[in-house]
């Protein structure tokens, strides 16, 4: 019975829309669809999409590991602030980040000559690391923290060098968490859009950008469908692997290992320098741009956020409050659906559990174009006439938020000691009472952490939102930002930068709030 809500949600808002649009594309001109599979460019695009995602993922994991080590095993002032800071890029609009990177390349002389980075694969890889490093730091970091360092200490006592201990003891133990984080990052990079267009330059194309180009600009639905089908297959494969590893991610019991040691100074300095270069520099560029006016510095761009620009239906501040409202609704939905799904995945029957686990994760890798258009043509008749409903945007955001709630909640629920439950049952508690009094208190914090992620994802969402028809007064902050950058004028650009910084601030606050409730959570993000 519990499964009914998530299954209905998934079927109505994801499976039905996606199959509708793919079916429409396939039946429009099946010949043209099959033909596009054979084009040489098609193979090239598929190949490039996959290898850039693999390379981005590998690079992200390698770069995130030292930070994981620092944040998982050491105690120092500003630890939670640093952890929160790594998450900020995660929700920044790509058009803003693209601009910041472009400016950096320009200033560092990397926009031309022998060391050109701009409009090369290196720019794309760098941006993907920037965006996704938080996923690895959180998944692997919290796993590492809970894992303890007993076996490493034994290995060192037996004469292993620290490198040997890392290579032969730590990495294999981290395996499941590493693989799980890697697959999430892979999914994000597979469906990357703005980074490819802005930083990759005009010659670069991935499945996601090509689906958009064919469906929107060329009006070629059959070709777009062929590309979308291939993307969906790749996403399903990636999710299946993720979930397999996720199930293997055995959650260790809480270690009462005492206080964590202070970090070695060199370790701390090296990490701060690395993260500072990677995340701090682009963020600093944004901050500088938001404050600079005519060669001087002022908060004028920030105070301008309250005034309506003639080009926008509402002020940036109203757009921000719209975003907050949507994010609140989306978070509520994601927590409800994600919570129920997690219960089913952990306690449900084998097949329901696996299918729901797979299905609910798919939206994480769904193309915004496919989902947006699918919702438009599928949800246009009663009882699901939602095309013009104000609920459509929160529902679309919640679809992406649910996997995050699940990924945190499922490992937590799995970690509930079976003996605790048995003891409660033996003492006469009904199954419902066991859920309420044993599972819920333990799962509660996990639910809050997941809620924070769902909130952050919704606040930064741009792609799917832009495809859903909405009342102009319901402009969200990322959409407003994009519009501000669409017309010449220093004042508009300054305001856009200020809006981006405020978005970062809101995200940082939300993530810091998450840190507060972290407590006993182990495993997951």
């Amino acid at each position: 019975m519990v499964a009914l809500v998530p299954v209905t949600f998934l079927t109505a808002f994801f499976v039905y829309p996606i199959t509708s649009i793919l079916w429409r594309g396939a039946t429009a001109d099946i010949g043209a669809l099959l033909e596009s599979f054979g084009k040489p460019t098609f193979v090239r695009i598929v190949w490039f999409t996959i290898w850039q995602a693999v390379a981005s993922t590998a690079l992200t994991v390698v770069i995130a590991l030292p930070a994981c080590h620092l944040l998982a095993l050491h105690r120092f002032r500003g630890r939670s602030a640093l952890r929160a800071a790594t998450t900020v890029p995660f929700v920044l609009p790509t058009v803003v980040v693209g601009g910041a990177f472009t400016a950096l390349f320009d200033r560092l002389g990397l926009d031309g000559g022998a060391f050109r980075v701009h409009h090369t694969i290196w720019a794309v890889l760098l941006a993907h690391v920037f965006f996704n490093v938080a996923v690895v730091i959180r998944t692997v970091g919290s796993f590492w923290e809970g894992m303890g360092i007993g076996p490493e200490e034994q290995a060192r006592t037996l004469g292993a060098s620290s490198w040997q201990a890392l290579r032969w003891v730590t990495l294999p133990r981290l395996g499941p968490a590493l693989a799980s984080a890697a697959s999430i990052v892979f999914l994000f990079c597979l469906t990357s859009f703005g980074v490819i267009l802005i930083l990759g330059g005009p010659t670069m194309a991935t499945l996601e950008t090509e689906v958009w180009r064919h469906a929107v600009l060329r009006g070629d639905l059959p070709s777009a469908t062929a590309l979308a089908v291939v993307q969906l297959v790749a996403v399903v494969a990636a999710v299946a692997v993720t979930n397999r590893l996720q199930r293997r991610l055995v959650v260790p019991r809480r270690q009462q290992a005492g206080r964590l040691p202070k970090p070695d100074r060199r370790l701390l300095a090296a990490n701060l320098a690395g993260l500072g270069l990677l995340i701090g520099l682009p963020v600093a560029v944004l901050l500088e741009r938001s404050l600079s006016i005519n060669g001087g510095y002022s908060f004028r761009n920030y105070s301008a956020l309250a005034d309506r620009v003639d080009l926008l239906p509402v002020s940036s501040l109203v757009a921000l409050s719209n975003s907050l409202l949507f994010a609140t609704l989306a978070t509520g939905l994601a927590v409800l659906v994600g919570g129920l799904t997690s219960v089913v995945v952990v306690h449900g029957r084998h097949w329901t559990s696996r299918l729901l686990d797979l299905g609910m994760t798919l939206p994480l890798g769904a193309s915004a174009v496919t989902l947006g258009f699918g919702m438009l043509i599928a949800l246009d008749e009663p009882p699901l006439d939602l095309r013009s409903s104000r609920w459509l945007v929160p529902v679309a955001h919640a679809l992406v938020g649910v996997p995050f709630v699940m990924r945190i909640l499922v490992p937590t629920l799995r970690s509930v000691d079976a003996r605790l439950r048995e003891a409660a049952a033996v003492l006469g508690a009904s199954p419902t009472r066991v859920r309420m009094e044993v599972d819920l208190p333990i799962a509660w914090r996990g639910l809050l952490v997941g809620a924070g992620f769902a909130f952050a994802v919704s606040i930064g969402e741009f792609g799917a939102t832009s495809f859903l028809p909405r009342s102009p007064d319901r402009l969200t902050a990322p959409l407003a930002l994009f519009r501000l950058l669409g017309t010449p004028g220093e004042a508009l650009r300054g305001q856009a930068m200020a809006l981006a910084v405020v978005l970062m601030g809101i995200t940082a606050c939300a993530v810091l709030a998450i840190e507060r409730v972290r407590g006993p959570i182990r495993g997951g993000l």
């Binding site: 693209g98 267009l197 600009l217 005519n294 926008l312 719209n322 438009l376 246009d380």
Partner: protein, 359 residues
Amino acid sequence: MYRPVQQMLLAALLAFIVAACGETVESADPRPDRTTALDSISGQTITLVTHDSFMLSDGVLDAFTRTTGVGVVRRAAGDTGQMVATAILTGGNPLGDVMFGVDNTFLQRTLDAGLFEPYVSPALSGVPEGLRLDSRHRVTPIDYGDVCINFWIDRFDEDLPPPQSLADLADPAYRGLLVVQNPETSSPGLAFLLATISEYGNGWEDYWRALRDNDVLVTAGWEEAYYGAFVSGGGDRPIVVSYASSPPAEIVYADPPVTEAPTGVVTDTCFRQVEFAGILAGTQHRAASEALIDFMLTPVFQEDLPLSMFVYPAVTSTVLPRVFIDHVDTPVAPHHLDPATIGANRNIWTERWTDLVLR
């Protein structure tokens, strides 16, 4: 137990949610009107589908509601390309009654899909012939603008004067100075390609080979070109593809205020983009939709267009704002191509362009 502050916060949050959930139907008092035609539509509410850039000053649509009694709900559906694709996908069950914002580069696609019902507005006589691009009147021209080469004035002097024509851009004197957008991913990029095709006919491929040899820079979209590579955003290229109305925008949205635009327009390089409105086939409110199209050609609506959307009103007699008179160089004979020709060839041209310029 709640403390007062928490209670206030809660109340504010609730008020906010309630307020935010209200629909934005702009139907002010539906006054009884004299004519029977208006009586029959008074009290109806129609939906106007637009692109995201559609903007009007407060009260403009209220004026329509006051005179006709028809309420208007607006729906923004992404950029022009997204809006058109959306409208075609939802053809049998349209999102609204009237659509605003299809331009001449997308026009043929919407006509082929049979999106619109023909309607000849009585106010059409005020619109120049050259803008009425559909002889069957399935769409009505509402405004126009020009995509033109813009240049940063300070970077040019007597030794290197600003370019005067498309041909100048291929001159080695202007080597490495131009940034354009990819016509496969950008609307102004496509308009500029169409300008070169209009100018050179079958010779457009040679022209682009020359531009490529002259080190033209290509970006995916307008933002990266204007704010990334162009001088305006701190880049080093002083020539960019943008709009004829970009210089007045540079004045209106300058900070600190300025009296002269830092940019100029090369008027011989412009491609004209016309924006249309049309009644979506399948509407249940035909008469009210006609009234809205008529309203779009009245002075109230037309005079609001320049500063709300930085476009020119289609009705010739419309009074322009000062900044448009002083700071826009209007091209005398902008480039244009027949919408049917664009519809039939745009995918072929952009593919050829990709082979020529990017490979």
